[in-house]
């Protein structure tokens, strides 16, 4: 149940909303960049093995 935030509701909800948005963005971008980097490494390791330069 939503607590009664009174006259400060816009400040409290704004602070929580901005924080959750930024934290979710940080986690999502971190995971996306991590997956891309690991996939790039896998591709280039396979190519290195094919070319016998490993």
């Amino acid at each position: 149940m939503m607590p009664d935030l009174g006259k400060y509701s816009i400040y409290v909800l704004g602070a929580y909303g901005a924080t959750l948005f930024l934290m979710a963005g940080l986690v999502l971008l971190t995971l996306r960049r991590g997956r891309a980097a690991r996939a790039a490494l896998k591709r280039i390791e396979e190519e290195t093995a094919r070319n016998g330069k490993g």
């Binding site: 409290v12 901005a18 934290m23 971190t30 960049r33 991590g34 980097a37 280039i44 290195t48």
Partner: protein
């Protein structure tokens, strides 16, 4: 067994893979319980009204913003002294997390300050040193991106990190040696007289633990990403290819 074993990327990644699931799960639990308890389960403050609920995000974010820089300082010193690549990459991995936490600290501080102080911003010692810390985070990240050779980038960013540490420490301790300013003293203290009431303290400590565990999980994952990218770039050079 020595701590320096984990300077080996293979050993670091093996340890990281074991720690990460626990860290992610504990971080999520800490944040959900800490913020949920703080938002839904604590009363208004007699002076600050419902704005006191902002403490459960503002204090943990500021805590991580300052301590992330301290972690980067330690990792940078290890790089400068012992030349372990994993430590330089861990410092690089922590910087964007610290930057986002600094932004959250500044933003929630401004949102809290407006109804309580009547202003979004004041050139208070603690706020000003925190703003300078934000600029150091931007400069640190930009310097890593600007320099092509990773060892040179690690050297220069490590020196920048040493200089920026003054402002990280000042953000934490400014209230002790500058009495003027709007910002209140520490919310958490070993002195029970100075500490905030238990009703606010317990969810705040849980929230700080959740944010800290999230920082650990993110830095471990991001350091793994940096290690992957470094190895991929090295192999790409060997194949004479662009990554």
């Amino acid at each position: 067994m020595s701590l320096w074993e984990y300077a080996n990327p293979v050993k670091f990644l093996a340890l990281s893979a074991r720690v990460q699931p626990v860290a992610w799960a504990a971080a999520l639990t800490g944040i959900v319980v800490g913020l949920g308890w703080g938002f839904f389960g604590t009363p208004d403050d007699f002076r600050q009204g419902s704005t006191v609920k902002i403490i459960y995000i503002h204090v943990p974010a500021a805590w991580i913003a300052i301590n992330a820089w301290i972690m980067m300082l330690i990792a940078s010193l290890i790089w400068l002294v012992r030349r372990h690549h994993v430590s330089a990459l861990a410092a690089r991995a922590a910087a964007p997390v610290g930057l986002v936490m600094t932004v959250i600290g500044l933003l929630t501080g401004a949102i809290w300050g407006q109804p309580m102080w009547g202003t979004w911003w004041a050139w208070d010692p603690r706020l000003t040193s925190f703003l300078i810390l934000f600029l150091f985070y931007l400069g640190y990240i930009a310097l890593w991106e600007a320099i092509e050779d990773p060892d040179t980038a690690a050297d220069l960013t490590s020196v920048l990190c040493l200089v920026g540490s003054v402002f990280a420490l000042m953000s934490r301790y400014a209230v002790l040696f500058w009495s003027q300013g709007l910002h209140q003293g520490a919310s958490l203290s070993l002195d029970k007289e100075e500490n905030i009431s238990d009703v606010f303290w317990i969810p705040l400590v849980i929230s700080i633990a959740g944010f800290t565990l999230l920082f650990i999980a993110l830095v471990l994952y991001r350091t793994g990403t940096e290690i992957s990218l470094r190895r991929a770039r090295a192999l790409a050079v060997r194949l004479d290819k662009e990554l």
